[in-house]
Symmetry: C2
Amino acid sequence: MPTNPTRPPLIIDVHGHYTTAPPALGAWRDLQMAALKDPSIVADPKALKISDDEIRETIELNQLAKMRERGSDLTLFSPRASFMAHHVGDLRTSSDWAAICNELCARVSQLYPQHFVPVAMLPQSPGVDPATCIPELERCVRDYGCVGINLNPDPSGGHWNSPPLTDRHWYPIYEKMVEHELPAMIHVSTSCNACFHTTGAHYINADTTAFMQLLQGDLFADFPTLKFLIPHGGGAAPYHWGRYRGLAQELKKPLLQQHLLGNVFFDTCVYHQPGIDLLTKVIPGGQHPVCQRDDRRRARHRPRNRPPLRRHQALRGGHAQPHRGAALQGL
Amino acid sequence: MPTNPTRPPLIIDVHGHYTTAPPALGAWRDLQMAALKDPSIVADPKALKISDDEIRETIELNQLAKMRERGSDLTLFSPRASFMAHHVGDLRTSSDWAAICNELCARVSQLYPQHFVPVAMLPQSPGVDPATCIPELERCVRDYGCVGINLNPDPSGGHWNSPPLTDRHWYPIYEKMVEHELPAMIHVSTSCNACFHTTGAHYINADTTAFMQLLQGDLFADFPTLKFLIPHGGGAAPYHWGRYRGLAQELKKPLLQQHLLGNVFFDTCVYHQPGIDLLTKVIPGGQHPVCQRDDRRRARHRPRNRPPLRRHQALRGGHAQPHRGAALQGL
């Protein structure tokens, strides 16, 4: 689409979660967890009933209201990150749960095709080959038009016993990402290690850890088109950019911009203006970040910079109508 | 000492490590590690010989040269953090190693009493009661005039299987810290978890983790005078200050300044100017930070702000001569 200078850019939030899903979802998950302990309990995914009106209510009063208030146009929308809890149960547990959560986000995008595009969670499970996630990934692309995935580098929930993201362990997922041109947001879930508070330590540590794993390795030599979004402003990476520049030098890697920044992107989910200012100052090529000025409370919905999508990817599902010109061109 | 406004403040580097120790130290450690696998090898601490001249050479060409070049006056000096490697061997291993490393830093301070004040590492060992560290702690205070300790919140080296710092597990150490008015720098050591690069992930994650543990708990209700230094600019904490402010609110804690900042201090070890600028902007009460402008290479010696020492503590060993006036008054 040609650039139209008279129209403002489309603003896309690349890190939206369905944090406000109807209570029936959490109740079903409780049932599923109870069934793990008591075989007389059956958690049938078909038993979960959520109406379109219930979805509309949770979206219109929350995410959509905030989008309108703040002037963002489109949200890439995935299941609530802390609810993924891949450490619970086994592959069957995660598969049922991922299918339910992904369907719910797809329904949001079907109800509000102008505003939400779905991103899939994967049915990861500790110690299980990531290749087992591929059927759900394929289904989400094919049936729901998902434009990205959330990839958990630590399905154990804080024990960090999976190999680093640069290990061939993860390659089956990367091959599918490349095939479908899907970026991945690297996002852990609930911590079950008492040392790590989920959102206050585990999330931020995982972002920092992932960035350093990618810095240490040469993953993008094997997958030149692979794209990762590191959320929460890249964890500690931009704040410690001098450290990472020094480490790249010590490890005989190219400059960070060449080594990583064609494949690794950060959102602006930093929750206060000085942090966002640092991010946009330090990271080269950050474009038109929309800053969140209300830093006294964490918002559910946050505008970001540099979403790791190419235009056709964001439009894959046919939901987004970039009516404001060359919106996605520069992203 | 009364303030003398005509004299510039004393500049104290609160986070110095003996990273340049003579090679004989590393060779002895190699021997000790070999002895763990081969009982025919004996690693006798008395066998390690390092002359005063060897120490002088490593210090004068490195730390002291940088201090003079950059204009800092005094360094709180502890054994190299990545060498602590508490995960190696058992309590005996760590005890011998800590004794050697602490003695070496004490000798540096004896050779250069105007410039170095010793800080002790502890003989921590995974799964071992921290109370076992007390004899070495007492010895370092009594014999060497140590003014602080380095406390490793994860002696396992990246498996994070010790309780959080707010747990009573750590109280024996805190009781001694209070008794001797010793601050602790919270500092992990080498990572032996492939997910975490030592300086690029484990260090920064530990800082972030420690901050959040302290935020979640109420440790300073039990130990009102306990003082912690969180190194590396506080990990990710200042960059995500809005997040932590929100979490304190969510957890019904007082404002961060009241809740933590009377007991928790950050250094300015951030290795690039924008990060230091963010830190000094965000953290209230930062005083006279000395910024490190050479951000292309990591320096061995870095000036900091707000060392967690009171004047008499920094002077405890009788080494430091604050000849420039009320230097330590405001720190």
